[in-house]
């Protein structure tokens, strides 16, 4: 029997053009897919999770071929994956690399925690201002003015 090469890491094909989102906490990988609407696109997508990471211990990675994101769009994932890195690839070369940043405003993707908020009763896109305090991040609903703490964030 031929001696098998010992594989210590998952090999994922490099992409020619597109976007890589690296350093995603494994538990957030599928939320990131939902937030970016990747379940609805026709592009080739590679998803890896529970991969070894020096920084995080375990990490997830998503590679989307032939797709680029507006920074505002990609920053939405900072709510669930603040450690994530955005890498833009053109002709197999990294042309941009940066950590995601939490945006000042979050629209449409998060549900308001207040059951009596108008956004939970009529078809209205939600709109939050991000407030960062010492005791953690919270979202201030621009309609009902209630705060949603980070641990209570639910995506639409």
């Amino acid at each position: 029997m031929a001696k098998q090469e010992k594989r210590t890491e998952l090999k994922v094909t490099a992409i020619e053009n597109g976007t890589v989102i690296d350093h995603i906490p494994p538990q957030s990988v599928f939320q990131v897919i939902n937030i970016l609407g990747l379940n609805r696109v026709k592009n080739q997508i590679m998803v890896g999770t529970n991969l070894d990471s020096q920084k995080l211990g375990k990490k997830g990675i998503i590679k989307v071929s032939k797709k680029y994101f507006e920074s505002e769009e990609i920053n939405k994932i900072a709510l669930v994956a603040p450690s994530a890195t955005l890498i833009v690839i053109k002709d197999f070369t990294v042309v941009y690399k940066a950590k995601v940043e939490i945006p000042q405003h979050i629209t449409k993707i998060v549900k308001c925690i207040n059951p009596n908020c108008i956004t939970n009763h009529e078809d209205i896109p939600t709109n939050f201002t991000v407030i960062e305090r010492e005791d953690g991040l919270r979202l201030h609903c621009n309609y009902c003015e209630k705060y949603t703490k980070k641990e209570n964030i639910h995506f639409v």
Binding site: N116, E122, D123, N142, Y143
Partner: protein, 315 residues
């Protein structure tokens, strides 16, 4: 937030007490003072005011309608959503867009929080929030400020005690926030279960103002200029026995005002149930019925400023 940077309130909606600046509070209160002296003026005779009350609030609706009528405006609207097309399933957006065709300004009360902000976003005419669920009721807050300024001759440096349900009391939250613009000292008196939420307390802390918390009011009364009473509702307590135990501690009786400062006035957003006994009504320190009357002048001022007719007002 949506704080406007110009002094001019013309054509601007008033949804939250945060929408306006301290300078604008003064502008509203100064104009209200003119209306108090001379409440019947024909300054809004070319305007139509719509009062849309998606939930009943007779007191607030009549106050707005009286304000508009005394200034010569025409008033249209409904007092209860069950008599409007809302009952047929019309969305809030459609109701607002339709009514804005018939009126120049919309005053609305709605049971859902954030409804007024949303209405102001879709409406081509300005919207005044007359209460959106447990969230905001800015005209109540302005009439409270007016009552404090009128009885104390100032807004800076007031010692105010809030008594009762500080957790759910919308008027308390708005007034606390508005008073953080002034050098106010806050005395917060409530049962443990109904303490002021930390999110509202944060405004006091951010403004570096002094606040004290108590569970009983007797020792506090002699220290304060304004005693702001609120109603404690039984349904706020998980344990009915706990309600029975605490409810007596938050009832104001005339005898309790014996040691009060001469300038103390008792305010209450009304309706009152039993938290102020009727013997207080005859005490000159009782101010809650005049407070309600001040609401008409403040609403006259707001309608006039938003419709841009303040230059016509005679003092």
């Amino acid at each position: 937030m949506n704080k406007s940077h110009t002094k001019n309130m013309k054509n601007k909606s008033l949804i939250s007490i945060h929408d306006i600046t301290r300078e604008q509070y003064d502008e509203v209160l100064d104009l209200a003072e003119k209306f108090e002296k001379n409440p019947k003026q024909d300054v809004l005779n070319k305007w139509v005011v719509a009062t849309l009350f998606f939930e009943p609030s007779t007191r607030t609706r009549l106050s707005f309608e009286s304000a508009a009528n005394q200034l010569g405006a025409r008033v249209i609207g409904f007092a209860d959503a069950s008599t409007s097309s809302v009952k047929k399933g019309e969305t809030l957006k459609d109701t607002i867009l339709t009514v804005s065709n018939y009126s120049d300004i919309i005053v609305m009360r709605h049971p859902k929080e954030g409804s007024a902000r949303y209405a102001s976003e879709v409406s081509p005419v300005p919207v005044i929030n007359a209460g959106d669920g447990a969230n905001q009721h800015p005209t109540q807050c302005l009439l409270d400020l007016y009552s404090i300024r009128k009885t104390q001759k100032k807004l800076d440096g007031i010692n105010i005690a809030f008594v009762g349900d500080l957790k759910y009391g919308r008027t308390v939250h708005s007034l606390v926030q508005a008073l953080t613009n002034y050098k106010t000292t806050f005395h917060l008196i409530s049962p443990e279960e109904l303490k002021l939420p930390s999110s509202v307390k944060q405004y006091i802390k951010d403004a570096n103002l002094e606040y004290h918390q108590y569970t009983e009011m007797d020792e506090v009364i002699p220290k304060v200029d304004i005693l702001y009473m609120t109603r404690i509702q039984q349904e706020r307590f998980a344990d009915p026995l706990e309600y029975e135990r605490v409810k007596g501690a938050y009832i104001l009786r005339d005898s309790m005002l014996a040691e009060a400062k001469k300038n103390l006035r008792v305010l209450h957003p009304l309706p009152r149930v039993n938290e102020i006994t009727e013997d207080v009504d005859d005490n000159p320190k009782a101010y809650y019925f005049q407070q309600a009357q001040n609401g008409v002048y403040v609403r006259q001022a707001l309608l006039t400023l938003i419709l841009g007719e303040e230059k016509k007002v005679k003092s």
